[in-house]
Subunit: 388 residues, 2 copies
């Protein structure tokens, strides 16, 4: 096992009715900005529950944070935060709202010239403080409710980048599984595969003699495989919704990645597909991962076979046959929960390949992956394999 | 899944050489009391590493915190804390030193008349503040390094009780697996079974439709079964030590117990065996648990069979045969890592039974366990079964 530091101070309030606890979680004298997205929270009752719980509190709203939250949108919120001396941010939404709110929290107290430096880490820029955040999660998927990471897109340049800081760890996150009941199918499908691939990025690398982390990762994968389809089949199955939600949170809170190698190539390549073509984040991951499993099968062989045996019970055949069966099982799972895995399924052709490759070249990135040997040539091969 | 709140803000610094980080973790201007036990840290080099890392810091020492730390000893430390205006406690030791230090931290700022009320919760006493604590763990076992719980014994009355508070969560805990290299066999054996039974108290109850928690629990059990014997066989096996250490921490940090029923009857009965006969904590748990598995086999049947199948691969035979095999496997594991499971192994006879039963009766406790139906008659039957 590698040395590691683990710190996660997010208070999780999990279960039905927990939104009512907001009044004890948010400081009574705070000047609060409630951040949200396209307004679904006003239709599904969550907004009313939040406002009811915070009756008498000092709140202004900032709606319209879009999927893949835009720097340009968030900077409008930053101006409003400063003008209104906001000292608490309450994010009510899915991963995009939460990620965007983390950026607002950091950018509002940013002392450098350009808050975009938070994302590019230009001159080793790091977040040193942030406005306190609380969250009410409305969509299990990204794990943003229990980490300090935000992924932000600069619309002007189509740059989709990530930052992470302990200062943007939410003070609390309320996870009421009943929010799942009114979600559209595609959001649940995306959530299932997003959480699944968060685990894979931290698990499908090379062995590091870390059996607790490995088995925790497999626990989350198996739970998503078992519970995901139940959520899709019956939106009102509370236990399935709860188990899906908790699995998604556990998938990216630092726990399974502690002391082990991590990959994140699937996300890095996937982000470019979203930036260029607006393909949903979860969908991009399902396009890229099978390609990486094929191209990097030797790098990942030992963990691939362990994954096949423990998650899919694949133990028969030669190594190549088993790996083929493992990739097929994985692809079939993505497709079975409603996510297509080929670029052609999204109307994208081979013209995307040089565009994506050039983005890495232009950023000076020669290779990615857990061994730092997934080159831009590999990226081209991965996308080539996933064309149709 | 039941509703739950999860909050664990302990910063974990895990790995070889991490003790050197103390200088960045402890506030530079703090008045520090370094608490420790019988002096083993002065023999195994940990004390020197700590003092070297904190060169120039303002430190006084308080040694001699015994196993099952005594209220009477700890109150001497409280007096010293007050006299020296100590504002940071650095606990260097195993679970007893850490637990004792948590009590010192709370008792030093206790505003009620009698700090023992913290343990008895007389008049609903609760800890409202505590001196900040950091820890350097020297013995994987109790999980105290990543929770706010302390178990303290009042020697005068032989009362062994537990308290828990968010205020006594360590600010940080340093887990360097190399501390295992110099541990005596009995401490490792006790640590393995202590961690194992911490998991069982939160797992071997009744199903609550919580597959993430269940599988995490099984992950820890399997890791202890696989890695524990490796540690005993080769004290210098770093990876085995690291995996044992991390498994023990994960066993009692709130994660696997979130949203599920918990038992803790094994601990409650075991504490009395320690209080009356000084039997090691881990040993008492291995005496009591098999008795509870027999007497409460119907209560625990579903989870028992799940445990048997997933942890021990026991799938054949009638329910009764499988449960018998499962109990045998569990007992054999305890014995195989060096812990005996019968009262006679510790020179204790049937005279203990009314003494233990009366302790529960005198405290007004009619029944314990996850369903609140393990009666004092059951306690007598459990101890009777474990006589020899």
């Amino acid at each position: 096992m590698n040395n590691f530091e683990f710190y996660n101070s997010v208070r999780i309030c999990f279960g039905k009715g927990e939104i009512a606890k907001l009044s004890t979680l948010v400081p009574r004298d705070a000047r609060i900005m409630l951040t949200y997205g396209g307004g679904s929270i006003k239709k599904n009752g969550v907004y009313d529950q939040v406002i009811s719980a915070l009756s008498g509190f000092n709140i202004i709203g900032f709606g319209g944070i879009e999927a893949n939250p835009h720097y340009e949108t968030l900077m409008k919120a930053v101006a409003l935060v400063k003008a209104n001396k906001i000292d608490f941010l309450l994010a009510v939404g899915g991963g995009s709202v939460l990620d965007g709110t983390k950026f607002i929290a950091a950018a509002a107290l940013w002392e450098g010239a350009d808050p975009w430096d938070i994302m590019t880490r230009r001159n080793h820029a790091t977040v040193k403080k942030a406005i306190p955040i609380g969250t009410v999660l409305t969509l299990p998927a990204t794990g943003s409710e229990m980490n300090g990471t935000g992924v932000i897109t600069k619309w002007e340049t189509k740059d989709k980048l990530a930052f992470a800081s302990e200062h943007t760890l939410p003070r609390f996150s309320i996870l009421d599984p009943e929010v799942v009941f009114s979600l559209p199918q595609i959001q649940i499908s995306n959530g299932i595969v997003d959480a699944f691939i968060h685990v894979m990025e931290q698990y499908l690398t090379y062995p590091a003699n870390a059996p607790v982390q490995d088995r925790f990762a497999e626990s989350i994968l198996i739970t998503l495989i078992e519970e995901g389809p139940k959520v899709l089949a019956d939106r009102s199955d509370y236990n399935a919704a709860a188990n899906f939600m908790w699995a998604a949170t556990m998938a990216l809170n630092g726990l399974i990645g502690a002391g082990v190698p991590q990959d994140w190539a699937t996300h890095m390549i996937g982000h470019e597909l979203t930036a260029f073509h607006g393909i949903d984040h979860g969908q991009t991951l399902c396009i890229v991962l099978p390609g990486i499993m094929r191209v990097k099968r030797e790098n990942k062989q030992e963990k691939m076979l362990q994954y096949g045996e423990r998650v899919w019970k694949i133990t028969e055949g030669t190594v190549d046959e088993r790996i083929e069966a493992i990739i097929e099982k994985t692809v079939h799972f993505f497709e079975s929960v409603g996510i297509k895995t080929k670029l052609s399924d999204y109307g994208v052709g081979s013209e995307i390949i040089p565009k994506v490759v050039n983005r890495f070249i232009n950023r000076g990135i020669k290779a990615i992956g857990e061994r730092g040997d997934l080159t831009t040539d590999d990226i081209a091969r991965i996308l080539e394999l996933q064309l149709k």
